[in-house]
C-alpha cells in the first residue's frame, strides 16, 4: 500500500525507481490502463502521490547535485534530491534556497510539483519562482526543457501541477547567499486572533521569516526569525528524532490533551521568548516529530490548509470557531502571510492569509470542513491541493480559476491521461467533462 504522510489514505500500486536513462525511456510505455504518477519523499498529507492499481514512479534515484554556479547563483539538481540534503550541501559554500518547506524530506521534484512555500512568502514567493529551468519527461513530447521563458505555459502548468503534466527529472534552482546557519528567533504572545494577525503581518514585512501558531480560541504566538549576522555556516548534526507511538482514539487531538499541549507551549514562550537556533530547526519543526500523524490516533491525521485574501479574516475566525463548536478543536493551527502569487494556475499561495489546521481523522469532520470550504471559495480563497484528502471536486474550479487553462496545457502534454493520481481522480482535476458540463450550462 502506498499512502500519504497523514496516514488517512492508501492504495496498492506498483512502485518503480528508474535509475538509468534506459529505464526512463521505457517508463511511459510500461504504464498500464491505470496510468502512473511520480512520487518523491512521500510527504504530501493526502493522496497526491499514490495511484490505485497503477504505477508509482519514485524519483529518489535522481539524486545528483551539480556544482554551484556562483556567477549565476544557481545549482542543477536531480528531482529526487531532498531539500534537507540540498541545504546541507549548499550551506558551507555560503548558499541556501530562498524558499524552504516545513519538512526536509520533501524532494526538489515534489517541491516544484506542489509549488511549496516557506515562512517568507511575502518576501520570496513560492518555490516555483526560483526555478530557473527544468527537464520534464512528458507523455506527448518526451523530454522537454522548460523555463519561465522557454515553454513558459508548460513550465507554469508543471509548477504546482501535482505531477500531472510530466515527471520532473532535473531542475536548476536559483540560490541566495547565506550568512549563517544560525537564526535568532523572537516569540511574542497575543491574546486575540486579530492582534495575532496584525503582529504577524508586521513581522512578515520586517523579518526574514514569520509564522504564528494559534490555539483553538484564537490566542497565539508569533515567531519572527532573522538570520544571525555571525555564526558558523556548517550545519550541525541533524536534529534527533523521537520515536512516537500510535495513540488511542483521537490521540493528541483529544480536547483536554490538546488544551494541555497549548498551555505548555504558551508557558514555554513566557519562560524563554528568544532563541538562537540552527536554520534546520526553524524550517523543519515537523522533522523532530516524524510520528506526528501517529499521535493523532489509529485513523491518522487530516490537515486542512487554506488561503484567503486580505479582508477575509472572518473566514479564519469562522474556521476556528466552527471546529471548536463541532467538538473537533484542531491539535495544531499555523497562520502565515502570503504575498504575490506566481503565474502557475494551480499554485496555492496568493496575497492574503494562510491557515493550516491539523485534525485527527474522523468521519464527523466531513460536514464541518465541507461548510468551511464553501466559505473559503465564496471569499475568493482556496484549499492547498497537495495537502488535501477530502475536498469536494465541485469547488475546485471556483477556488482555482486557472484550472481550465491548466487542463488545456495538460491536455497537450498528456493527451491520453497517462499521468493520474488518486488525488486527480478524487478531485477530477484532469476531467474535461466537468468543463464540458460548465460550458453546456453556460450555453
Amino acid at each position: 500500500m502506498i499512502g500519504g504522510w497523514g496516514r488517512v489514505t492508501g492504495s496498492p500500486a506498483t512502485v518503480v525507481t528508474p535509475d538509468c536513462d534506459e529505464d526512463w525511456a521505457e517508463l511511459l510505455g510500461a504504464a498500464g490502463p491505470r496510468g502512473l504518477i511520480p512520487r518523491g519523499g512521500g510527504r504530501s498529507y493526502g493522496d497526491a502521490a499514490q495511484n490505485a492499481g497503477g504505477l508509482v514512479v519514485s524519483t529518489m534515484a535522481e539524486a545528483s547535485i551539480g556544482d554551484v554556479d556562483a556567477a549565476a547563483a544557481t545549482v542543477e539538481v536531480g528531482a529526487g534530491v531532498t531539500i534537507g540534503d540540498l541545504l546541507r550541501y549548499l550551506a558551507p559554500g555560503g548558499w541556501t534556497l530562498p524558499v524552504v518547506p516545513g519538512t526536509a524530506a520533501v524532494t526538489v521534484g515534489g517541491a516544484i510539483a506542489a509549488d511549496v512555500h516557506g515562512k517568507n512568502h511575502e518576501r520570496h514567493g513560492a518555490f516555483g519562482r526560483h526555478v530557473a529551468a527544468m527537464t520534464v519527461l512528458t507523455p506527448a513530447y518526451g523530454t522537454v526543457e522548460m523555463s519561465p521563458t522557454v515553454n513558459a505555459d508548460e513550465f507554469w502548468a508543471t509548477v504546482g501541477g501535482l505531477g500531472l503534466t510530466g515527471i520532473i527529472r532535473r531542475a536548476t534552482l536559483r540560490l541566495i547567499p547565506l550568512a549563517s546557519w544560525w537564526v535568532s528567533t523572537v516569540d511574542e504572545q497575543q491574546p486575540r486572533l486579530h492582534r495575532v494577525l496584525d503582529r504577524l503581518h508586521a513581522a512578515s514585512v520586517s523579518s526574514d521569516h514569520a509564522v504564528a501558531w494559534v490555539d483553538p480560541l484564537g490566542a497565539g504566538v508569533i515567531t519572527r526569525a532573522t538570520t544571525a549576522r555571525l555564526g558558523a555556516l556548517t550545519p550541525g548534526r541533524a536534529a534527533r528524532t523521537r520515536a512516537t507511538p500510535t495513540l488511542p482514539g483521537r490521540g493528541i487531538a483529544w480536547p483536554p490533551l490538546a488544551a494541555a499541549a497549548n498551555a505548555a507551549r504558551r508557558t514555554a514562550v513566557v519562560l524563554r521568548p528568544r532563541h538562537l537556533r540552527p536554520l534546520s530547526e526553524l524550517h523543519f519543526p515537523l522533522d523532530s516529530l516524524p510520528g506526528w500523524p501517529r499521535l493523532h490516533g489509529r485513523r491518522g491525521l487530516v490537515q486542512h490548509q487554506f488561503a484567503v485574501p486580505f479582508g477575509a479574516e472572518h473566514v479564519l475566525a469562522y474556521a476556528l470557531q466552527a471546529a471548536r463548536e463541532a467538538g473537533h478543536p484542531p491539535s495544531l493551527v499555523v497562520v502565515k502571510v502570503f504575498g504575490e502569487a506566481n503565474p502557475a494556475p494551480l499554485s496555492f499561495p496568493g496575497p492574503g492569509w494562510s491557515l493550516a489546521m491539523d485534525f485527527a481523522a474522523d468521519p464527523a469532520l466531513g460536514p464541518l470542513l465541507d461548510r468551511l470550504d464553501e466559505r473559503i471559495a465564496a471569499a475568493g480563497g482556496r484549499v492547498y491541493l497537495v495537502k488535501d484528502s477530502r475536498a469536494h471536486p465541485d469547488l475546485i474550479a471556483a477556488m482555482y480559476p486557472g484550472l481550465a487553462r491548466w487542463r488545456a496545457v495538460r491536455a497537450l502534454l498528456d493527451p491520453d491521461g497517462l499521468l493520474v493520481s488518486d488525488l486527480a481522480r478524487r478531485l477530477r482535476l484532469a476531467d474535461q467533462r466537468i468543463d464540458d458540463q460548465i460550458g453546456a450550462s453556460h450555453a
Binding site: M1, S11, P12, A13, P33, V302, G366, H392, R425
Partner: protein, 283 residues
Amino acid sequence: MRDGLGRPQTVLLLGGTSEIGQAIAEQLLPQSGTLILAGRDPAALAETAERLTKARRQVATLHYDALAPAAATVDLLAVAAARHGDLDVVILGVGTLTEETALADTSAVEKTMHTNLLGPMLAVHATAARLRAQGHGTLVVLSSVAAVRTRDGLLSYGVAKAALDLYARGIGESLRGSGARVLVVRPGHVRTRMTAGLPEPPFTTEAHEVAARVGRVLSGRARVVYAPALLGPVMTALRLLPAAVYRRLDAAQRRGAPLEQDQRPTADRHRAAASLADERRPR
C-alpha cells in the same frame, strides 16, 4: 475515489429499486457524490432517481438485468466507470423473496435461482474483477440471515442466499491485498415491499437501520455484518441447534407471528401489498 475521511464519491446500486440498497446508498452519499441506479424497470428507476437527487448528489440510471448474460454485466460496469469514474462502492441488491409454497413448478424454482443466485454470482465476479483492477473499492453484497440457517418456508431463497454468501466471502478472500474488498451484509427480517405481508419474526428491522450499520463498518475491516448486530450471536446459536429443536422453534414462530404481525398503519400495508403484487407480475 474514497476520500481521507472514508467517504465514497461514486456508488453503484445493482438492483436499483432495492429499498435496502437505496437506504445504504443514501447513507454513504448523504449530501454529495454520484449514485448510479442499475435495474430493469426504467420507470421505477427514473422515479427513484428523481426522489434521491439532491443539489450536490447526482443520480444516474443504467439498464441492468440479473437474468441477462454475464457479458452484459461486465459491460454495465465498464460503462458506469467510464461515465462516472472509479466505482468506490458497488451494492448488490438483486433478489426476490418468494415463499416456497408459491413456487408453482420446477421452472419457477429455476427462475428464482437465476434471479437470486446465478445473476448475483456473476455480478460479484464481474465487480470483483473491476475493483481489483482499479485497486480500491468495496462490494456490498446483500445476503440474509437465511443464508446462515435456512427455513423450510423459504427454502429456495435461503439456499440461493447461502450459496451467494459463501461465494462472495470466497471472492472477498481472493481480493486480499488488492485494495478492494467484499462486505457481506446479513440483515434479519427488514420491513420492505419485498417482505410486506409476511409474518414478522423477532429482530425485525428497517432498511435505514441496516444502512446505518453498513455505514458504520464500511471503512473498517469487517467482512460480514449482521443487522441488527445482535443477530450475530443469535444466528450462531441457531446454527448450532439440533434440527429437531430448530424445526419446532420455526413452527412455533410461524404460528405465533401473525398475532403480533404488522404494526404499521393500514395505508402503508396496502401500499406495500400493492407494490408486492406489482413485483410478482409475470415479466
